[in-house]
Symmetry: C2
Subunit: 105 residues, 2 copies
DNA sequence: GCTTCATACCTCGTTATACAAAGTATTATG
DNA sequence: CATAATACTTTGTATAACGAGGTATGAAGC
């Protein structure tokens, strides 16, 4: 998928995933893969960014004798999703404009 | 509007505008303004990029004794719009996923 | 026993891009 | 005469995706 287009979507996709259930890096990558591909070198900086703005929190848990860093969405994160959805109407207008150019008039 | 989200839309908006009619920098900024804000320092590099990949061409014309650089879309540019619209289905799935997180289930 | 794959985390360097700020120049308006 | 509008351009900064590389453990295959 178009790299530029992804930039505005990835952070929100990660938040949407964590809104459904708490999760950890490796699982997020695999769960999102059918929808949108995220590489490790993309995801881990995203998690850091989201932590920095307190949109998520983290707790290390032991699973099969190994550490896993689980992430949970916060109210700040939920607000980010809401803001994004609120802005989406404008994007739809833009898409309408672009599609309108296809069937020349 | 979300800066990151814009990145994937601006180039295509400029192409869509030029598909409707040939135009020049200053007019493109003003015509797109109600839909999406583009500053001069954003638009001129975009026009350069689009020229480099031959998605547009340019012809200088004189208007009121002054030069204006008019830009015209090419078939390469029209194909770019078509490719973008074709990819949009995937983006809609992603939005569905994000909106699905809002009404928790 | 050894290799390969899956799991799980992280960082560095490169590339792409939006945009503020500044610069240049002309014409119109107050 | 100054200010705004028209019109183009470049420089510097910040943000972000991602390939490539690094570390470490457990399980499966040969």
């Amino acid at each position: 998928m178009n790299t530029q287009l992804k930039k505005g979507l990835l952070d929100i996709c990660v938040l949407a995933e964590l809104e459904r259930k708490e999760s950890y890096g490796y699982a997020i990558i695999n769960d999102l893969a059918p929808l949108i591909e995220v590489s490790e070198s993309t995801l881990y900086p995203i998690l850091k960014r989201l932590l920095a703005k307190k949109a998520i929190t983290t707790k290390s848990k032991i699973h099969n004798n190994r550490f896993r860093k689980y992430y949970q969405i916060t109210d700040v994160g939920r607000q980010e999703i809401a803001d994004f959805v609120g802005e989406w109407g404008q994007v739809e207008k833009i898409i309408g404009f672009i599609k309108g150019a296809e069937i020349d008039e």
